[in-house]
Amino acid sequence: MTQPLLSIDDLHKSYGSEEVLEGVGLEMDKGDVTVLIGPSGSGKSTLLRCVNRLTEINSGRIALDGQDVTGADTDVNELRKQVGMVFQDFNLFAHLTALENVTLGPKKVLGMDGADAEEAGRTHLEQVGLLEQADSYPAELSGGQKQRVGIARALAMDPELLLFDEPTSALDPELVGEVVEVMRDLAAEGITMLVVSHEMDFARSAASDIVFLDDGEIVEHGPPEQLFQNPTADRTEQFLSRLHAHEETA
């Protein structure tokens, strides 16, 4: 039996007296694309941020390749070399060009030689269709381009798992497509992705699993066709119909 790449067990997280995650469990195998959906405030982003420890958990266990990564003795920087992240607000390094954004981690963290990092960086920019923008600064790029640089920056670290925190939520509707397309390509290449998103196009076409999170717990978990066509829980059904109604009007 192969070990899951990511295994989350009985995860609890509170902010003060407010419990955001109430015993969440989740497993992902290599190559899985898991999409987390759920109402705002349901704990999706918190769950994601616990995986690379941008947020510290209260109790539970997160293991990557079978190794517990939640302990005080875990080297968070070693963990983050394995787990890349793409942010809702892009957070590109404002003072660096697109190429420099992509190469900073490999140079400073992985100790790559400048020329090697640049060559690899150009490959990653090409992968997201932005080779021509290599020398542009973030402020000179559109939202969709920024997010694609954000994806290239995460890919450049060659992580085992990529986290996406609502990668298209800050984009104008007409720019969502280009980012979804890149994400779909990555999924097709077998990159393991844990994605918080309500982008139904992506969820239907690229996800291997959908997880519906509500009030800090996983309500339902299954392959997209099952969860979207035949949700078993009332809460899932209600959420999906609201989402659907929203898509119709959008």
Partner: protein, 226 residues
Amino acid sequence: MAAILLQTADWLFVVDNLGLLLGGAAVTIALTAASILLGFAVGFPAGAVEVYGSDRARRLVEQVGVALRGTPLLVIIMILYFGLSISSSAFVTAVIALGLRSAAYQSQIFRGALQSVDDGQLEAARAVAMSRFEAIRHVVVPQALRRSVPGFQNEFTIVLKDTSIAIVIGIGELLTTGQNLYEGGQSTAALEIFLVVSLVYFVLTFATNRSLDRLSNYYAVPEGTT
């Protein structure tokens, strides 16, 4: 008016002693450079401690800063020179006084600049596995330094002009040189001397501000959302 001033005044005396005045200007430049450097060397880390330091370190730095900013420079110089006699060299004492006072102000320039960089920048740097120190050093500081330039220009100008206070401990800087020429009884050309002195201060502040503008433009990056 200007014509009368030029005809009647004792400009020749100033021209004859221009070498002395420029010598004083050189001391002013040396005082300024040393004080600004000391101010940066102490003020930048102090500003960083105020943003990123532990509670205890932050409180300590804040309190020292408040004391330094709340004391007139003239008093600081007199305490250090006559009160504590920290150095037999008036120059060294003046540099320490000007430098520490400047550090207290520069720390606030850099504190504000560091705080103005969006938290997402630090978070994104941590997410590509940089340590907190590396993230601050490679991502936050370069952006903060760019934003510090206008405040730093002000501080530079203030320090340059305030070097004139070193006259009270007898340093032969620009103002002292001018004062000596006038008080030596060799001339009554007070207005001429002090006009030239202020012109030299102006040229120095103007030139350094322009140089910092150029530096800032050279390193400028397009602004906007990231």
